[in-house]
Symmetry: C2
Subunit: 258 residues, 2 copies
């Protein structure tokens, strides 16, 4: 019994209705695109080429139009490109970032290449009350501010705005910020490991200036991360606002029911 | 000593350079917007009104132009609105979703209101090899497919495409899917709790059809979640592709260094 036969048999049995026929082509395209997206991102098409359209039609049991629409969706996301005479090629470079262990970007992406940081701004600044309060500093206490564009193998991944407690931030500014994660430097300066971080993730459309800074199209989807990192002793020392290019990064981890 | 004096003193001491003056107005606007964004989202402006521009200029120690640009950025994200004669009002409705405990949407957002689900499609389908493989099913084994628009207090939050192992999925289709999380129903049918889920998050721009389905502007940033959920006994039974409207949801949790 083929897969399709099994479905038709189940449908004929009347227990469930196969509503495929009623579904819109766009809905089918989305289903196909979701499955292919993951395969592209996880490098399952080793040769770089996706299966031929006719094979995808058979694999997904759908129409050729829905398969073409699915490939168009992935092309709009920059994950594949259509090459006349060759077919559809996977062109994504999306890198995995863990959600569980607190790691700097260079630590996380070590196997994918070299992370370099363009330091756009550093200095001592008078923080707003909100920043002081989150770093548990008395109002009026200056903090060290660092702004970086972070690249992997030369491609912009993120724009990071970082506020640091002054006693750790001032020595940090004398270090090689272009080639080191701030996390690693902070641990060396503090003489103790980092502990816990509170993280908030959002998807936002890039404003024109942030998009330009990241060499991305205007309005591109950004994975925006706000992260407050504490030393092992519990003191909050590092507050970051990170804009990841959505087309270059995925975050993954495990969740547990209890 | 005021905050600004402290900074000027530090600068004069020559240890650090306050590079504020060299920074672009757009960079300052982004800094201000990042801090205000969080305050808006966490409801810190209880009355709904943000401080007056002059107060923000003082608070952030920046120019009036940078403050105005920051408010424009938040307005473009749909977080605030400018009301002539009143000022700038927080209008965001962004809901927190935990990253740690595996919870259904209704369980997560209980205190924020009622979650209802519009079931767009259900049925037994012949899955692609990728879906079969992730659910550890023999090739050709049909799975149950459920597609839902999920709303909080009537507002669309997400579009969920769900693939379920047949032995649990078929009984599930007889349940009240409009008013129950699939997680809760699965546990009842399986007679055991859920266990672990593997989760991947991305930020993507919505394709036109997904945007229309979620009543969102074309190209809006979506928080795209792929989640494979296992029963407590380890069997993978529920594979979901979830598109959250980026302007309605945040994800938060803790990360640990070791």
């Amino acid at each position: 019994m083929t897969r399709r036969d099994a479905v038709i048999r189940a449908e004929a049995a009347g227990a469930l209705t196969l509503s495929d026929a009623r579904r819109l082509r766009a809905d089918r395209a989305r289903q196909v695109a979701d499955v292919l997206r993951r395969q592209v991102l996880y490098g399952e098409f080793r040769s770089g080429a996706l299966p031929a359209e006719a094979d995808l039609v058979r694999e997904f049991g759908t129409s050729r139009n829905a398969v073409r629409d699915a490939l168009d969706l992935l092309r709009a996301e920059g994950l594949v490109e259509r090459c006349p005479g060759v077919g559809t090629l996977a062109v994504a470079e999306k890198y995995p970032h863990g959600l569980e262990r607190l790691l700097g970007l260079a630590e996380t992406l070590r196997e994918h290449g070299e992370v370099t940081n363009e330091v756009r701004t550093t200095g001592l600044i008078a923080p707003s009350r909100e920043i002081s309060s989150r770093l548990r500093l008395p109002e009026g206490e200056p903090v060290v501010y660092v702004e970086r564009i972070r690249r992997l193998n030369g491609l912009p991944l993120s724009l990071d705005l970082t506020y640091l407690a002054r006693d750790l931030g001032e020595p940090l500014l004398g270090e090689d910020l272009a080639h080191n994660d701030i996390f690693v430097l902070l641990e060396r300066i503090a003489g103790q490991p980092l502990g816990r971080a509170e993280v908030t993730l959002e998807a936002v459309n890039a404003d024109p200036h942030s998009a330009a800074t990241l060499d991305a199209p205007r309005g591109t989807a950004l994975l925006m991360v706000e992260r407050l990192t504490h030393l092992a002793d519990g003191r909050p020392v590092d507050l970051e606002f990170i804009r990841f290019r959505g087309d270059r990064i995925t975050m993954s981890g495990s969740m547990h029911r209890s």
